[in-house]
């Protein structure tokens, strides 16, 4: 490894996070997860493994779920990012998934929850009427150590029903 005077290497990027535009100068090696958490200050997204398995860091990048520990922040230049903080409405009304998670005890320590919520927002957007097996399969990319998943599965199925009832509509 060469440690030269041209480090830290910096770039200016523009990230739109939950609808808010941020123009910031960051190190090119900074992960998107660290950028969101520490530069933009949205700490709801968490790091559980930093090698792309646990899913706690999942955010939506241009509508698609991505493990933010496996992206460089510079790669998200110009992108629209949704994190857990952006799921409720501006008026503070919870997303049906958040409401369902609360009702079905789908979280305990809550550390993995943000990554599951964003993953499920995408999943229900593409599969508005899943069965239980499909929900479990969709959750396979997120690890929870506390809940044993049952509350989460019940919450996702419930939220799917609510979203369908609200015209199968906008999942955000």
């Amino acid at each position: 490894m060469s440690v030269e005077q041209e480090f830290p290497e910096l770039r200016t990027v523009i990230l739109t996070v939950n609808g808010e535009r941020h123009e910031i100068e960051i190190e090119t090696r900074m992960t998107l997860a660290d950028c969101i958490r520490h530069r933009i200050g949205k700490t709801g997204t968490h790091l559980g493994c930093e090698h792309g398995v646990c899913g706690a860091c999942t955010v939506l990048v241009n509508g698609r779920s991505a493990r933010s520990c496996l992206m460089l922040a510079v790669q998200a230049n110009g992108a629209e990012i949704i994190t857990v903080e952006g799921l409720a409405t501006d008026g503070g009304e919870w997303h049906p998934l958040q409401q369902a998670f609360h009702e079905h005890h789908a979280l305990q320590c809550g550390f993995c929850t943000a990554g599951i919520l964003t993953s499920m927002v995408e999943f229900l957007g593409e599969h508005p009427d899943p069965n239980e097996e499909e929900v479990r399969e969709a959750l396979s990319g997120n690890i929870c150590r506390c809940t044993g998943y049952q509350g989460i599965v019940n919450a996702v199925l419930d939220a799917a029903g609510r979203l369908r009832a609200a015209n199968g509509g906008d999942v955000k």
């Binding site: 968490h46 305990q108 809550g110 550390f111 479990r136 690890i143 506390c146 044993g148 998943y149």
Partner: protein, 778 residues
């Protein structure tokens, strides 16, 4: 709403912040001028440190300091993390030190700490700290460690034994001498690590002006952290505060105070600026505690009908290189063997072995899974050998309801005897079997077999010790604003204590749980505390809060009676107000009462009520309380691949009175998932030299949603008789009988191949091996 909150599935108060991303975990704490830390860790299982040269690292821009033993030791009163039980005798060389001076004994042991502007730079610096190691011979397998010529895990130690002890009662010699049957069993058991999704972490702030040290640690014991720092650094107790941010799971991984926490605090004292250390997952694999390996060799004596006459044998437990919390796992495992059965004679010789790996302490279940596994595998063995039904053999040996309270001449660590004070084990077994359709299963199994499918059903019972004392603090305080606040030494790590305790407290005041604020894990507000482990907090803290709430309620009523010039019997308390029954206009609020008792001018105060609308209780349970459970599991085994699918999972669980059934079920299901991990997936592997070989989540497998089935829970509630709430702990209940129930099911499915399973976890390749061996008549 205000009547009978206990037993109600109140939705959690913790959820809002967690669901909206506004909770505050340790890595979310930012302080001005804070530096970030990383640790130089030994890459060798055993080595002598010849020299440490930090100079190349210090010349990296952004690196502020590199500290090793030479820099930090002058701050220590002693290089020792104070043990839980100072009276416990064991090998001195394995005492939990803070920082190695010249010998490292496991891969990942700390050699130095780097302080830098960011974690990125701190990690850059790690490879620039030049450490000269002399590699020493290492021992990895705990059985090898006991050979007389084995390399010493600590080079100056006389051997690799932490301690040996015997757990016994009765007279095994006679029992075995006259037994109709004696069977023997060898087991290899392995449990990995806790792996909460949030790793460990600490933020330390030292204010030189006030010499105040504040730490925020992702811990299961804030008071333990505070006490340890006070002890090691010789600080004034009232200048040290340990607070707990939101904690992303514990499971035992955050129970002790780690060297990392102490070293970061020491570095903060030296550097005089805030410091943060956030563990990454690789560090958790290397340096966070595990439960790891146990090898059991034992015999079971029975009479003609399969009644247990005695169990005797030996067990070796892999403690790792340091004794971080006594030898609880090995000890608990030996205590857990009798379980819910009548066992007249017992003798287990336990050797706690030292190896060149990170230390082991309890992970969720704390040795009870291992002891339970031993007894439950023995039960299936007896059934097989005597041609009996597996449920029948258990029924025959279970302690019956009529025998309860039942005392075993087996002492727990605190000296108390093992006293099962309530429970109905045969009824729970029957409920579980009925729910699972046990008697109909044989036919279903035969049908499946005729279709070439291998399905099996297994079962296991357990008893779990809960509610360990000595106490837990509960302070209930209603301030002049009328706000009800609970302070407790109990620790929150996802198990919903803020909701459960709010329910317990709110129940006394006729308010919503959301009107009660629970503050946990802050030594600044609660002088003493023990912490969260061993399924103890609802029993202890819950009871304390219950008692303190009652005391505050009584004070409030007495004061209100005085203020309203009414008699106490005529008063009712609800929705935060006390009024004369039937006369709603004649009332005072809790705020009024609080003001009266705080000495506010103009308020009447009865002379025989002490100031302050508050009370403190430190409930001391008179004994431990025992929960029990039965798991019945159905599996399908793919004999082509060795893959196991759990197709049905039934739990009957008795954790006494339930404060919040939704939270209780969450605990049980989470525990079962962990147990599935222990049975089928989680293996923390080391090679023969002591190098860890599973250090990522791709190699160490945690259960994911598709492999955990729906868990059907049937509750049975026999209240505890040793605490005022009648509760029993439930945090570990789900994990304890899971592995043996699953193995019992797999064996049952593979009965056509004479497969016997004597290990946990089990993998698909191993199942194929056992099937092949069975086919070949092994």
């Amino acid at each position: 709403m205000s009547e009978g909150l206990i037993g109600t599935p109140v939705r959690r108060l913790e959820d809002a912040a967690l669901l909206t991303g506004t909770a505050r975990f340790v890595d979310d704490i930012e302080l001005p001028e804070m530096l970030e830390c990383a640790f130089v860790r030994s890459p060798h299982p055993h080595a002598a440190i010849r020299s440490i040269n930090p100079t190349p690292a210090l010349s990296l821009p952004g690196v502020h300091a590199v500290f090793s033993y030479a820099d930090l030791a002058p701050l220590f009163t002693k290089n020792l993390i104070p043990p839980d039980n100072p009276g416990l005798k064991f090998a001195e060389t394995t005492k939990a030190i803070v920082l190695a001076e010249e010998e490292v004994c496991y891969v990942g042991e700390i050699v130095a700490i780097v302080l830098a502007d960011s974690r990125y730079i701190a990690e850059d610096a790690l490879s620039l700290v030049d450490v000269d190691y002399e590699i020493l011979p290492a021992v990895a397998d705990c059985r090898d460690a006991l050979a007389p010529d084995a390399p010493r895990a600590h080079r100056h130690a006389p051997d690799n034994i932490v301690t040996t002890f015997r757990t016994e009662f009765g007279d095994c010699h006679s029992a075995f001498g006259t037994a109709a049957h004696v069977f023997d069993l060898s087991l290899k058991q392995h449990r990995g690590s806790g792996h909460p999704i949030e790793g460990r972490g600490i933020v330390v702030q030292f204010e030189s002006a006030t010499e105040g040290l504040t730490v925020w640690s992702s811990t299961q014991g804030a008071h333990r952290v505070r006490n340890t720092l006070v002890d090691i650094f010789g600080l004034d107790e009232d200048r040290v505060r340990a607070a707990t941010p939101d904690v992303g799971g514990g499971f035992g991984s955050k129970h002790i105070v780690y060297p990392e926490e102490v070293i970061v605090a020491g570095a903060a004292l030296l550097q005089k600026c805030p410091l943060k250390w956030i563990e990454d997952r690789r560090e958790h694999f290397l340096a966070a505690i595990q439960e790891r390996d146990q090898y059991w060799e034992f015999e079971i004596a029975t009479d003609e009908e399969g009644h247990l006459l005695g169990v005797r044998g030996s067990m070796i437990h892999d403690q790792g290189a340091y004794t971080l919390l006594g030898f609880n796992v090995g000890h608990n495992a030996s205590l857990a063997v009798p379980g819910p059965y009548v066992l007249p004679n017992y003798q287990l010789d336990v050797t706690i072995a030292v190896t060149n790996k990170v230390g082991t302490i309890p992970v969720r279940g704390a040795g009870y899974p291992e002891g339970t596994f031993a007894m439950e595998r023995a039960m299936d063995l007896i059934a097989d050998k005597l041609g009996m039904d597996r449920a029948e053999i258990r029924r025959r040996n279970l302690i019956t309801a009529e025998m309860i309270p039942y005392e075993l001449p087996l002492r727990a660590r605190d000296g108390s005897t093992t006293h099962y004070e309530s429970g109905d084990y045969p009824l729970c077994l029957q409920k579980a079997l009925d729910r699972a359709g046990y008697t109909q299963f044989a036919e279903r199994q035969a049908t499946a077999l005729s279709e070439g499918r291998y399905i099996g059903m297994g079962l296991a019972n357990c008893v779990k010790i809960t509610g360990r004392g000595p106490f837990e603090t509960g302070i209930v305080r209603i301030g002049p604003s009328g706000q009800i606040t609970v302070h407790t030494g109990a620790m929150a790590m996802g198990q919903g204590i803020k909701t459960a305790y709010a329910q317990i407290c709110a129940d006394q005041f006729g308010v919503n749980p959301s009107d009660v604020r629970v503050i946990a894990g802050d030594t600044g507000t609660v002088p003493m505390g023990i912490g969260g482990f061993g399924s103890r907090q609802t029993v202890t803290a819950g009871s304390s809060i219950h008692l303190a709430s009652i005391e505050v309620r009584e004070k409030a009523l007495k004061t209100a009676a005085h203020m309203l010039e009414a008699s106490e019997q005529d008063l009712e308390l609800k929705d935060g107000k006390i009024n004369v029954a039937g006369v709603p206009g004649l009332s005072v609020s809790l705020s009024d009462v609080a003001k009266a008792l705080s000495g506010a001018v103009g308020y009447a105060r009865p002379k025989d009520v002490s100031p302050g609308l508050e009370a403190t209780a430190n409930f001391m349970p008179t004994g431990l309380t025992y929960g029990n459970g039965v798991h019945v599991v159905e599996v399908e085994v793919d004999i082509g691949t060795g893959g196991v699918k759990i197709t049905r999972y039934v739990v009957v669980n008795d954790s006494g009175r339930l404060i919040n059934p939704q939270i209780v079920e969450g605990q049980i299901i989470g525990g079962v998932a962990h147990g599935i991990g222990n049975a089928l997936f989680e293996w923390m592997g080391y090679d023969e030299s002591g190098q860890p070989v599973t250090t990522t989540f791709a190699e160490y497998l945690l259960p994911t949603a598709p492999v955990v089935p729906n868990i059907e829970i049937v509750h049975h509630e026999t209240p505890s008789t040793v605490n005022p709430l009648g509760v029993k702990g439930v945090g570990e209940a789900g994990v304890i009988p899971a592995a043996p129930a699953i193995m019992s099911a797999i064996e049952n499915a593979l009965a056509p191949f004479n497969v016997r399973i004597a290990e946990t976890p089990i993998s698909p390749p191993r199942i194929i091996e056992l099937i092949e061996a069975g086919k070949n008549g092994a």
